[in-house]
């Protein structure tokens, strides 16, 4: 029995019952204020213990264009995007015809009753909700009516699926942070719609939700907020940024939470500083300056900003300045699709900047945005290097059900820093000398009062004392040390996560936001007799383990969201000996990956084999 139909039971009535297994798409227009309504639906389902995810598919504009919000609920915990939804909430007259076409066989269409359109699909269950009327009757002042109208579909859906109204009310209360008037106004419309539906509509479909035993310790959060909070628990003190979709909400998350969490409780003084820079060159420049000075410092951006950061990245790498750079990837090249997802900055980030140099890249999965948020600082200061954390639009801006944030289990690693006392003891130091054999020198921070603490930080060639040098051997020795440091990084970055299935001869290699789709695909494949092993990369440089994994499987699918197969390219560089065992599954249409896409690729290849 496939996952899709696992919970489908034919009821006595003859209607197939689908409990806690469907996806809902809310079709609206941008700027119509439906985000609260969508969030409330999602949170209500979440509160009922049902695994859910919420994804917003929005245009690069502010008002008036088509927008889709998808909620997937799945009792088995598979919440990747699916190609089709079973339930359509149709609120956009310009797209309703197409939206209807895309609905799954036997699906549901809940629509605003003042929207006239041809009910072209006979297999679909239609339900009309008088959203405008209910909004008008709500008592809301005129300017707020278009907004509260959205609550009508919440009420309608609650009736349709059996969402507990008490959970809807709690979700509203959480959203409005207890503001009673707002909760009452909105919940009033929800109730009215629910009542209207109960009294006037007849349920003909089989979709339902049922409360599930709550899994302890789960939260619902977007990756950018998680990353911001992770950074805060990692001690970020300075952040410079420049607005860009889909990274802005990471910096704005910092802006929201830093004052709550990092103000001195006694003096009220800020133990943080954020600067909205004039552009991304400035943003990284400031972050590098602060990192050099000894503050935990970061910036966050997306593709175009990363392109502008190439030169400063090279400086941070070569002058060995700790700094954390979050790249919340969107679809490139160029301005591309600013509101669509891709994992397309891998090669550019790893090789960023002219000249030699390979950068440390972290690849958080949905559960790791918080953890990598703090860990990146430990790595940056330990390695005295820029650390690139590659998130993406799906991870960053969409809502994920993840284990609650775990408090850092390690004390901060501030790396190799010599104090004035250390210098007094040692008599001096050589900034770029590899005294420990790990390729990492000891540094002093400006302000160190020892008369021999100063050195000259530079992007030009330098010897162990940081003095300018054009000497060929000095250059070579320094580059050799940087190569040693890269090896050291290999032992420090998060290791890949490997999951086995017995009897598997197929390897799947993935990373980041594609995890749910890959997990679901493995489940489906296994049910179809094709068990697979899965290696989830979490960082570059790659651990040796990656090579062992590749060696174990005759076929390893490298799954990624880009056109060029960038991870595949990187794996070919670093594990060329296993190139013959790798297949590229590079998919890149701007949408989050679906399990189907993975299943299909693997099956097709198996077909060919025969």
């Amino acid at each position: 029995m496939s996952v899709q139909s696992r919970l489908a039971v034919v009821e006595k009535s003859g209607v197939t019952r689908k409990v806690n297994d469907f996806s809902i798409v809310v079709a609206t227009v941008n700027g119509s204020g439906s985000q609260t309504a969508n969030g409330v639906i999602l949170r209500s389902l979440f509160a009922m213990g049902i695994p859910v995810s919420g994804k917003n598919l929005f245009p690069s504009n502010i008002q008036g264009l088509a927008t889709w919000f998808t909620i997937r609920a799945n009792a088995a915990g598979f919440v990747a995007r699916t190609d089709q939804s079973e339930i359509l909430i149709a609120m956009n007259r310009t797209t309703v015809i197409e939206d209807l076409k895309g609905l799954a066989e036997g699906g549901v269409c809940l629509y605003a009753d003042d929207m006239a359109f041809e009910k072209s699909r006979g297999d679909v269950h239609y339900y009309a909700i008088p959203a405008t009327r209910l909004a008008r009757e709500s008592g809301a002042e005129a300017s707020l009516r278009p907004y509260v109208a959205n609550m009508a579909y919440v009420g309608g859906l609650a009736w349709l699926l059996g969402i507990e109204l008490s959970e809807v009310e709690s979700a509203l209360a959480a959203h409005f942070r207890g503001k009673a008037k707002a909760v009452a106004l909105n919940f009033g419309v929800v109730q009215a719609a629910h009542k209207h539906a109960a009294e006037n509509l007849t349920k003909t479909d089989g979709f339902r939700v049922e409360r599930m035993p709550a899994e302890a310790g789960m939260i619902l959060v977007d990756g950018n907020t998680a990353a911001a909070l992770g950074a805060i628990y990692g001690g970020v003190s300075f952040a410079a940024w420049y607005p860009i979709t889909p990274a802005s909400s990471l910096a704005e998350g910092l802006q929201d939470y830093l004052p709550q969490l990092r103000r001195d409780p006694t003096t009220g003084e800020n133990h943080f500083l954020m600067v909205q820079a004039e552009d991304e060159l400035g943003a990284l420049g400031m972050a590098v300056g602060a990192g050099w000075m000894g503050a935990r410092s970061m910036t966050s951006t997306s593709g175009p900003g990363l392109s502008l950061m190439a030169e400063f990245s090279g400086l941070a790498h070569y002058a060995e300045v700790p700094v954390v750079i979050w790249d919340v990837q969107r679809m490139g090249p160029s301005t591309g699709l600013p509101t669509r997802v891709s994992q397309g900055d891998l090669l550019f980030a790893h090789f960023i900047g002219h000249g030699d140099g390979r950068q440390v890249v972290l690849l958080p999965g949905p559960n790791e945005c918080f953890e990598f948020g703090w860990r990146a600082f430990d790595l940056a200061e330990r390695l005295q290097a820029p650390i690139f954390v590659l998130s993406d639009l799906d991870l960053g801006m969409n809502l994920w059900r993840v284990p609650s944030f775990r408090y850092p289990d390690q004390p901060m690693d501030r790396g190799k820093v010599l104090s004035a006392e250390d210098l007094a003891r040692l008599g001096g130091f050589a900034r770029y000398k590899d005294v420990d054999g790990d390729g990492i020198g000891w540094r002093t921070l400006p302000g160190n009062s020892h008369p021999r603490s100063a050195y000259f930080t530079r992007g030009t060639g330098h010897d162990e004392n940081a003095a300018y040098s054009e000497d060929p051997q000095v250059w070579e020795a320094n580059m050799a040390r940087l190569a040693r440091k890269y090896q050291t990084a290999k032992g420090l970055v998060p290791s890949p996560v490997v999951e086995h299935m017995s009897g598997s001869r197929i390897g799947l290699v993935g990373f980041g936001s594609t995890d749910p789709a890959i997990q679901e695909a493995r489940h489906i494949l296994a049910q179809g007799g094709l068990p697979s092993d899965y290696l989830r990369l979490r960082a570059i440089p790659f651990a040796d383990e990656v090579g062992r994994f590749l060696a174990e499987h005759p076929v390893n699918w490298v799954v990624e969201l880009n056109s060029d197969g960038q991870m595949h390219s990187l794996l070919k560089i670093y594990f060329a000996e296993h190139a013959g065992r790798m297949r590229s599954l590079a998919h890149n249409d701007g949408l989050p990956l679906t399990a189907r896409r993975v299943v299909q690729a693997v099956r097709d290849e198996k077909e060919e084999e025969r």
Partner: protein
Amino acid sequence: MTVATAPKKATTNLIGLEKSDYRGLETTLCQGCGHNSIVSQIVAVCFELSIPPEQLIKVSGIGCSSKAPAYFMNRAHGFNGLHGRMPSAATGAILANHSMRAIGMSGDGDTANIGMGQFKHMVRRNVPMVYIVANNGVYGLTKGQFSATAEQGLELKKGLQNKLPPIDICLEALIGGASFVARSFAGDPRQLSTLLKAALAHKGTAVLDVISPCVIFNNKDESPKSYAWGREHEEPLHDLTYVPERDEIVISYEPGEITSVAFADGSSLRLKKIEVDHDPTSRLAALTLIEESRTQGTFVTGLIYVNPTQPTFVEISGLGTTPLARLTPAQMRPTEETLRDINARFA
């Protein structure tokens, strides 16, 4: 800041350091380069003001001028960053530790060409630092192309003529919102040291535009007018790669006075020292001063504008006394309870 102690002997300053404690490496700039004179004045002034070298950072871009920080105050941390990007690196550094003093060194190419955007936004933020532009109208380090401050009509060794109007760094700083704007001449040690002291005393960004002749490239061939671009038979008599050694220029003149500085190549520059009755706290007066001297073909020197109370970025940021770079882990990582609250919000 180190507490001041009584001078041990005549050659030490208030904190007991000798002038040599303020020296840097030996210069590798050309003999006679204006930038060397600026370096000397920085050394002298910081010694005189008894600034602890360890409490100062030197930040620069790329260019001959931007190399200068290597030649003063070896005991101060230095950061030689990227071409045109000194302002951002300096901003981050200063905000991360606002207990430090900062001297930023840049060139005209570094500031007015590639660095224009960062320069404007730095002065707008009024980040506490002294921002020195060693202004020679050319790109020294890349061998003498025009910068954006080159005079209109200027012709250089390579025979090209600058056809664009110059950018005035003081004017740019002024309308950009700078709280301290001054101009000096590298060869006027008295004025330069006075303005450097004032700049170091100022709490916000102090922009100091120092005209600092490049003796190599902003310096014409013996017969400049006859040297036409691209024509045959007009190669210079001596090797273009030959760099004559020259003496540094030293001048001295009084407020209100106009002085003409003559260069080895016969060209000259007209400097006008600001009248004593100029009100440097009026932006409009400052604007008018620069605009009028521009139309007269002189460079006005002296303190053009100052607003000593304009809030600095540090002040508006809500930062306390503990520099961000000196926070303890306990100050940096919120407690475990707070995270429980956070988790509860998302649960």
